[in-house]
Amino acid sequence: GPTPEPQTIVQTVEVEKTVVETVEVEVQPTRPAGETIRIGGVGPLSAPGSVVGGIAMQFAMNLAVSDINAEGGVLGKPLELIFADTEGLPERGAAAAERLITENGVVAITGEYHSAVGLAELEVCHEYGVPCLFSETWSDAITEAGYMEVFRIAPASSMNSRATAEWFAAVGVENVVSIVENTDYGIGQDEADQGFYEELGINSQEVFFVELGTEDFLPILTRIQALDPVPDAIRVAVTGETSFNLEQQMAELGIAPSEDTIGTANQVAIQPEFWESVPNGAYYVFSLVGLPPSLYNDTTTHVAEAYSAQFDSDPPSYALEAYDSIWILADAIERAGTTESTALIDALEDTDITLAQGRYYFEYTSKNPLPDNGSVPAYMWHQWPDPAVLLLQYFEPNQDWKDAAVIWPEVYQTHGTTYIVPGTTP
């Protein structure tokens, strides 16, 4: 199944060092002769896109490029990143991808934050046969397209949902209320959630779709207060400042997190703005894509240090993934020995490298096709099967997310109990 296998990750942590060293050995530190190998980065740098995401991704990619070039570049040539702003608009994304491929002659494209934009970009990649490695778009549809050119190292929505749903089941949640934004992310997440709730026998009491930019959530929170029975958990799939407003109001009203109701927050809860915006945010449960801080490897630490030097905060998963995506491409080029697309795609399918987020490989590829019987979901095509999805919980106000309790999966639990009831400290 697509669940992250804890075992694998623990093992890869051990082998990580060697792999990185291998790369070092393989790369010839000769000064490249003028020419560069270009990789295209895509992400939103202006509204209506999520600028925060785009900036972080761009930074991490640049970091990876300079790291690689410091080690001598790829195929003896320096790597060059050309990052294009997609503005969160599909048509701009498609145009940007086209520009990167045809104008700038990039050998591969990586990045993207918004699924809708990614879906437009992958068509361009497909058209030109250029590999696209998506590092942060979650929609199942990205890999479900089944294109040879499309790879993904971020979890699909369904993978993300599974962690939360399984934890809910584990702590005995019976009734769940979901508040999701009416965007590709929120809706996709909710669809996946509902599937798992059904599978695990959790009752979805109510789903509230909200418009991004909503400031006042009292109308729906009042609705939740009036629910009978009181929900056992509230699942939030809302991003950005909208999620902060929601989470603060929910906590301020005492709806969740409370003794009766688990409150989940969006993963942006690891951003430093979280405590500024949600001062009442203690006891929120939030998911984290990637390794728990306690399991950071050297690469992760390296990226985290550089990132916090720049942004004064810890790298979100999409920054780490963006960093890794450049390395994965560099690795594939190196192994292919050429930048020619088919060879590169072939090399990408054989990826096996441990980086900031763990050991990357693609399980279902042209060499190991998806079974026809549908036993494996279609989104597993060219999908990294093991992205770690952890659940963490704050148990003190203003807590550093690295100190938060890891409560799921069980192997990573740091503080024993599975749900920390408000007012208690583990």
């Binding site: 608009l89 599909p90 048509e91 104008e103 809708a116 879906l119 929609s139």
Partner: protein, 336 residues
């Protein structure tokens, strides 16, 4: 006849159109630039039809982008659910956009300036929220996929399709603006009551101007988004509409050509100005380029109300008339 065609304005027009028709030969190697220019044509259509609606007819609408979206969504949904061909979809989208324009026109008969602006803002917002919320039907923010115009369409072909639309709609609008229609809508803009007393059917022309511009943007929207392959509610944000308005104003909102050229260059330069190289450093302009755009907009308004291109257009198109007047005037003064 020959002499008329040798006037600078005709020469300028021919050169301009010739350049546009010929440029794929140069742009061919860069599909991206081609796409940018093709997109810029779309904005040029939006801006010039907005100039017709707001600048020439005085109907200050913010619903333009929404109408383009209506065209695209109609085409897309029909294609998805009923399997219509893109052409059928585009026709349906254009018609629906025209119908919505008709309804807006009828509803807004009584609303002037700021009120109309507010009403159309509300309309676009409601539509956008509806598209987002009824995602089961509209695909929400994921965006609605649209087929390519035809199987295997190339960038050059898309370029010519959009250029054709631009030239066609410009020709139509020019013809309208210079015919009785233009005369009437301008007289309405100046004074509705007086125009009515002069026998102008103000109700009909006010509604007509909405319908016609809606048809144009509906057609352009449906076609353009078929080329893009996807349309999302985000394209209908007020912000996107404001860009169109700003482009039209900078180019000259009372001149169809000015607005189109303004939009074209704004679009291309916004695209090109993402980063600027200064002494080898690249500066990410990001948000600054929009800030600068806003500044340009207010200074244009304040100091060049007719748009930055006005002096050129004035030179090409109006100088002759002016000379004529001055001559006549001096003659009249000499007589007295």
């Amino acid at each position: 006849m020959i002499k008329r065609l040798l006037q600078p304005r005709w020469i300028a027009m021919v050169v301009l159109v010739g350049l546009l028709v010929a440029s794929p030969a140069y742009l061919k190697d860069s599909p991206y630039q081609m796409a940018v220019v093709t997109g810029a044509f779309f904005y040029a259509i939006l801006a010039s039809s907005w100039a017709l609606l707001a600048g020439i007819a005085g109907q200050f609408s913010f619903a333009h982008m929404a109408l383009a979206g209506i065209g695209a969504y109609t085409a897309g949904i029909l294609g998805r659910d009923l399997g219509t061909t893109p052409l059928q979809g585009i026709i349906a989208g254009t018609v629906l956009a025209g119908l919505v324009g008709l309804v807006i026109g009828i509803l807004c008969l009584r609303l002037r300036a700021a009120y109309l602006a507010l009403f159309t803002i509300a309309f676009s917002e409601i539509l956008r929220i509806w598209l987002l919320t009824e995602f089961q039907f509209t695909e929400g923010s994921n965006g609605l996929m649209l087929d390519k115009l035809w199987e295997g369409i190339t960038g050059v072909q898309e370029y010519y399709v959009m250029l054709g639309l631009l030239l066609g709609s410009m020709a139509l609008m020019y013809w309208l603006a210079s015919s009785r229609f233009g005369l009437f809508v301008r007289s309405m803009r100046e004074d509705e009551e007086a125009a009515s007393a002069m026998g102008v059917n103000v109700v009909r022309y006010k509604v007509l101007i909405f319908v016609i511009t809606s048809l144009i943007v509906g057609l352009a929207g449906a076609t353009f988004y078929h080329q893009v392959g996807i349309v999302t509610p985000n394209t209908m944000e007020i912000l996107q509409m404001s860009l169109v308005i700003a482009m039209a104003v900078i180019g000259g909102m009372e001149s169809l050509l000015g607005a189109a050229i303004g939009a074209f260059f704004s679009r291309v330069s916004l695209e090109m100005l993402r980063e600027v190289g200064v002494f080898g450093f690249t500066i990410e302009l990001g948000a600054w380029r929009y800030a600068a755009f806003g500044l340009l907009l207010i200074f244009t308004l304040r100091f060049a109300q007719n748009g930055l291109l006005y002096p050129i257009i004035d030179r090409l198109f109006m100088r002759g008339a002016r000379k004529d007047t001055v001559a006549k005037r001096t003659l009249a003064e000499e007589e007295t």
